[in-house]
């Protein structure tokens, strides 16, 4: 297709601007139905439907968080057991060294701590953040994507991507504007 043209002028994709949630969701549905597969929607609010339309699979983040929590629980009990019963056993009022009931509270707190950190760090890393540069920011209008405008980008990596044809397709989807996104 247009491979020769891409090498001369590297293009990340074509971006369409919409001014409502509904328009963005409908355009995404049509683009997917039209056969596009490498595309992304950008919005100032979370829109649950978009992930189902475009990516069609849920994140593995929740499993990472579970692993974090279990690691915290294990760390809590192991640490307290080792410190109180192995490394420096201390007889306090004749109580056993491994008083596991007393260890519940710090272990619980570490479970919460580790899983919360896994949630935040996992979310940022899976999202590829921090990321200082991304091609979509080359489009001036994109600064409105965090206030009140909605954008759909069909990327040049899409096998069906053809600059002229994709631009025409997006213009036909009620876009308020269609822009080239420099890589």
């Amino acid at each position: 297709m247009a491979h020769a043209a891409e090498h001369e002028n590297p293009l990340y994709g074509v971006m369409a601007e919409y001014d409502s949630v509904q328009a963005l969701v409908e355009a995404s549905r049509h683009a997917v139905a039209h056969g596009y597969s490498v595309l992304e929607a950008y919005s100032p609010i979370p829109i649950e439907e978009l992930n189902d339309i475009i990516h069609r699979k849920r994140t593995k983040l929740s499993r990472i968080i579970l692993a974090g929590g279990l690691a915290g629980l294990a760390t809590g009990f192991a640490m307290q057991y080792w410190m109180s019963a192995v490394d420096y056993p201390m007889n306090v009022g004749g109580r056993p060294y491994a008083t596991w009931t007393a260890f519940v509270v710090p272990s619980f707190e570490l479970t919460i701590l580790f899983s919360s950190l896994a949630a935040a760090v996992g979310m940022f890393l899976l999202n590829g953040l921090p990321q200082p540069y991304h091609p979509v920011f080359n489009v001036e209008r994109f600064s409105l994507a965090s206030s009140d405008k909605f954008f759909l980008v069909i990327e040049s990596a899409d096998p069906r991507f053809d600059k002229a044809e994709t631009t025409r397709f997006l213009e036909g989807q009620g876009a308020k504007g269609v822009y080239d996104v420099a890589a």
Binding site: P44, S62, M83, T99, V105, L117, A119, N127, S147
Partner: protein, 465 residues
């Protein structure tokens, strides 16, 4: 459907308003919040408030500096009242923090949409309150630089480990986890709004700062999907966490054998008191802020009303706690428990007990009246008085029990010194300073969440279900 937080058909006009005033759209919501930190001119009222906070913060620096030089003898804390202002203030501040987590986590799980416009600054309040709270136990040790190995398990030269069977160590884990998770949750919530600030900032300097803080957030469908999962799970994790924190704080007392402390009602009663005082603090902050920054369309009378109702409900739980304490004192059949209760009511600190009862059981009943909940000025004053009431509660619990324990020969009176007060008011200065900096430099309302409340944010289903 969830829009109707309380489905009362017969409400008067003032309180019967939606959670977001009509006429708002994506742009007006964004603009009315984002313009505050981006404004070039600092409002005079802000400067005035900030200077008050800063002056009190300097008082804190002086009193802590003098404390480190002289030792904790400058405080009135002494045997038999070995726990006095420091723990009273610690519990007071930690309790205030709890409302922030309740609003951002528990109300999120219950899908209470009205929480959205107050959650950001309530969470900020939590973080600053925990920072103030942490000062007291750390400096109460006298030599905070040596206290680290009593508190945290790290390999030290004496090869000692903390005593994990002590509620005080549980408290260290609970409070430090609470502080960390609150900061993480708050920052995660801020990132999409920081991206908005980055995109709206006019000067390159502000663009860069907000750009770095927002980590390159671009609001893609994939970003948002992971973001929503992370937020929901963080809310689910913060909920048991916040309940555990004040439970563990109450264990500091309840696990001991002192009359008046050794009670099973302490954990729930402490948690209710925490939320009660926290909502009083949120009202103390929200009422002036919405007026000063013209945010009445986002923080509506509906919010004020709901917060007053939460305060009333938790206030009644606290009142139940006081009643049960008195009942247990009598029903226990223990001579010492009865003497403790008698001493609280008619002993040398009786004034503090009756002040506490008249505020937390008496005054709070005014909140039943719609006319009171409609009157923001009166609510503001009530919130301040309720904060005082909750401070008195901790004073009564801590001081009356310690001043008169089992043997009359070990009794003794406690009188706070000027340094006790200076440290306490100093932490209020730290709190105010941090809070004023927050409202000047960060978006104080979660813009992206409030946008989702607008009718424009809804998607019509493809096939209709």
């Amino acid at each position: 459907m969830a829009n109707n937080v309380h489905a009362q058909a017969t409400s008067t006009a003032v309180l019967d308003v939606p959670v977001i005033a009509p006429g708002h759209d994506f742009e007006t919501v964004t603009e009315s919040v984002a313009q505050i930190p981006l404004a070039r001119r600092t409002p005079l009222g802000w400067v005035f408030g900030f200077l008050i906070g800063l002056s009190l913060l300097m008082l804190l620096q002086v009193s802590l500096g003098y404390l480190v030089l002289k030792g904790i003898g400058i405080w009135g804390t002494n045997i038999p009242v070995g726990w006095a202002f420091p723990i009273v203030n610690f519990v007071w501040w930690i309790g205030i923090g709890h409302a922030g987590t309740l609003i951002s986590a528990i109300l999120m799980l219950f899908r209470q949409q009205w929480r959205m416009s107050i959650s950001r600054f309530a969470e900020a309040m939590t973080i600053f309150a925990v920072a103030c709270a942490a000062i007291f136990p750390v400096f109460h040790t006298g030599r905070p630089w040596l206290a680290a190995y009593w508190l945290f398990p790290y390999p030290n030269t004496m090869a000692l480990w903390p005593q994990f069977r002590s509620p005080l160590i549980w408290d260290v884990f609970a409070v430090s986890t609470y502080a960390t998770v609150s900061i993480v949750f708050w920052y995660v919530g801020l990132v999409p709004d920081l991206a908005t600030m980055r995109d709206r900032a006019a000067s390159l300097f502000k663009k860069r700062i907000f750009g770095m803080l927002s980590l390159g957030w671009r609001g893609s469908a994939r970003h948002w999907h992971r973001y929503e999962v992370a937020s929901l799970i963080l809310a689910g994790l913060s909920t048991p966490l916040v309940l555990s924190v004040h439970t563990v704080v109450s264990f500091d007392f309840a696990v001991s054998v002192m009359p008046g402390w050794h009670a099973t009602i302490f954990p729930p009663y402490f948690v209710a008191g925490a939320i009660y005082s926290g909502f009083a603090m949120v009202l103390t902050l929200a009422i002036p802020i919405r007026a000063a920054y013209n945010l009445e369309g986002l923080i509506t009378m509906r919010h004020i009303d709901n917060m007053a109702k939460v305060m009333l409900a938790t206030g009644l739980m606290v009142g139940y706690g006081y009643t049960m304490e008195a009942f247990f004192g009598w029903y226990s059949g223990s001579f010492y428990e009865r003497a403790m209760m008698w001493n609280r009511m008619f002993g040398p600190y009786a004034w503090s007990y009756w002040m506490l009862i008249s505020i937390n059981i008496g005054l709070v009943q005014l909140l039943w009246l719609r006319r009171v909940r409609e009157n923001t000025k009166l609510l503001f004053v009530m919130a301040l008085v309720i904060n005082l009431g909750m401070w008195l509660e901790r004073f009564v619990i801590v001081v009356t029990t310690l001043a008169r324990d089992f043997i009359p020969s070990s009794w003794g009176m406690y009188t706070p010194t000027r340094w006790d007060f200076a440290t306490y008011f100093g932490t209020i200065g730290l709190f105010l300073t941090l809070f004023f900096l927050f409202i000047r430099f960060l978006p104080m309302i979660a813009m992206f969440e409030v946008r989702t409340l607008l009718p424009q944010a809804k998607v019509k289903a493809e096939h209709g279900h």
